[in-house]
C-alpha cells in the first residue's frame, strides 16, 4: 500500500492509521506536523509546484519502500492557507519491524522538508508577512540518510 495525497483540505489521521494497522504488520509509526502559533502568527500559506509535487513525493515514498521492509505507507501534504493548530503534513508507515516503521517515518519527514517543492509564507497580525527560510539543518538532516 502506498498512498500519496497533496491536497488543500484537512485529513483524517485515524482513517490513515486504521488502514495501516489493517496491513497486519505489527507496527505502525506516524508523524503529524501542525501549524505552530505564537509571535502573532495568524496563518501559514503553503505554496507548492503542482506539476512537480505529487511526482516528487511519490519518488520519496519509493525511496523509503526500497530502503525499509514496509508493508505500506501514507503521506499527505496540505497546501493553501492554514491557521495555527491546523495539520500540515502526515506520514504513516507500517512494518513488521518497529525500527523500520519509526526510521522510515523519520526519513520521510526529513526528506519532505528538503525535497518536496513547498514554500511557507507567514502572515502576522497587523499585516506583516514573511517567507520561512529553509534551515541548513534540514538539508543536512536529509543528506544524513545518504
Amino acid at each position: 500500500m502506498k498512498r500519496v495525497a497533496v491536497q488543500a483540505g484537512d485529513f483524517d489521521v485515524a482513517a490513515e492509521l486504521v488502514a495501516l494497522e489493517a496491513l497486519g504488520g505489527g507496527g505502525v509509526a506516524s508523524f503529524t506536523g501542525v501549524v505552530r502559533g505564537g509571535g502573532g502568527l495568524i496563518a501559514l500559506e503553503l505554496e507548492h509546484y503542482p506539476a512537480m509535487t505529487q511526482a516528487q513525493v511519490d519518488r520519496i515514498c519509493d525511496e523509503a519502500m526500497a530502503r525499509w521492509p514496509l508493508l505500506g505507507l501514507s503521506v499527505i501534504h496540505r497546501f493553501g492557507r492554514l491557521e495555527p493548530g491546523a495539520r500540515i503534513v502526515f506520514v504513516g508507515t507500517a512494518s513488521r519491524h518497529r525500527t523500520a516503521a519509526l526510521e522510515s517515518c523519520a526519513f520521510l519527514i526529513d526528506w519532505l522538508k528538503s525535497e518536496a517543492p513547498f514554500w511557507k509564507k507567514e502572515h502576522f497580525e497587523g499585516g506583516a508577512t514573511g517567507w520561512v527560510e529553509a534551515r541548513v539543518e534540514d538539508e543536512t538532516k536529509a543528506k544524513g540518510w545518504g
Binding site: G33, L46, E47, H48, Y49, A51, M52, A55, Q56, H77, I88, V89, I109, D110, L112, K113, S114, E115, A116, P117, F118, W119, K120, K121, W131, V132, E133, A134, D138, E139
Partner: protein, 84 residues
C-alpha cells in the same frame, strides 16, 4: 520555447507566475540563464541577483545550477524549499 516558472519570493519579486522565452543554446546552464534574467534589472535583479539563494528544477526535477538546460521544456526557479 522554454517556459520559466517562479515560486515564493522569486515569483513575488518578479511579479509573474511564469513566462515563455526563446530557447537558449543547449549548452546554456541554469546559472547562465539566471544571470541573463537578472540583467533585466528591476524585480528580476531583486529576485535573481544572488544565485546562491536560488534552487532550480528542469522538467520537474531538482537540478544543480551548473546543469545545462539542454532540451528541457520547463525551468523552475525558487528559494530552498520549506515543506514538511
Amino acid at each position: 520555447m522554454l517556459t520559466i516558472v517562479y515560486f515564493a519570493w522569486v515569483r513575488e519579486r518578479i511579479g509573474l507566475d511564469e513566462e515563455q522565452m526563446a530557447r537558449p543554446d543547449a549548452g546554456t546552464t541554469i546559472a547562465d540563464l539566471i544571470a541573463l534574467l537578472a540583467a533585466r534589472g528591476g524585480g528580476y535583479a531583486d529576485a535573481l541577483g544572488d544565485a546562491t539563494r536560488l534552487r532550480a528544477a528542469l522538467d520537474q526535477r531538482f537540478m544543480a545550477l551548473d546543469t545545462p538546460i539542454g532540451d528541457a521544456r520547463e525551468l523552475a526557479l525558487f528559494p530552498p524549499v520549506t515543506g514538511g
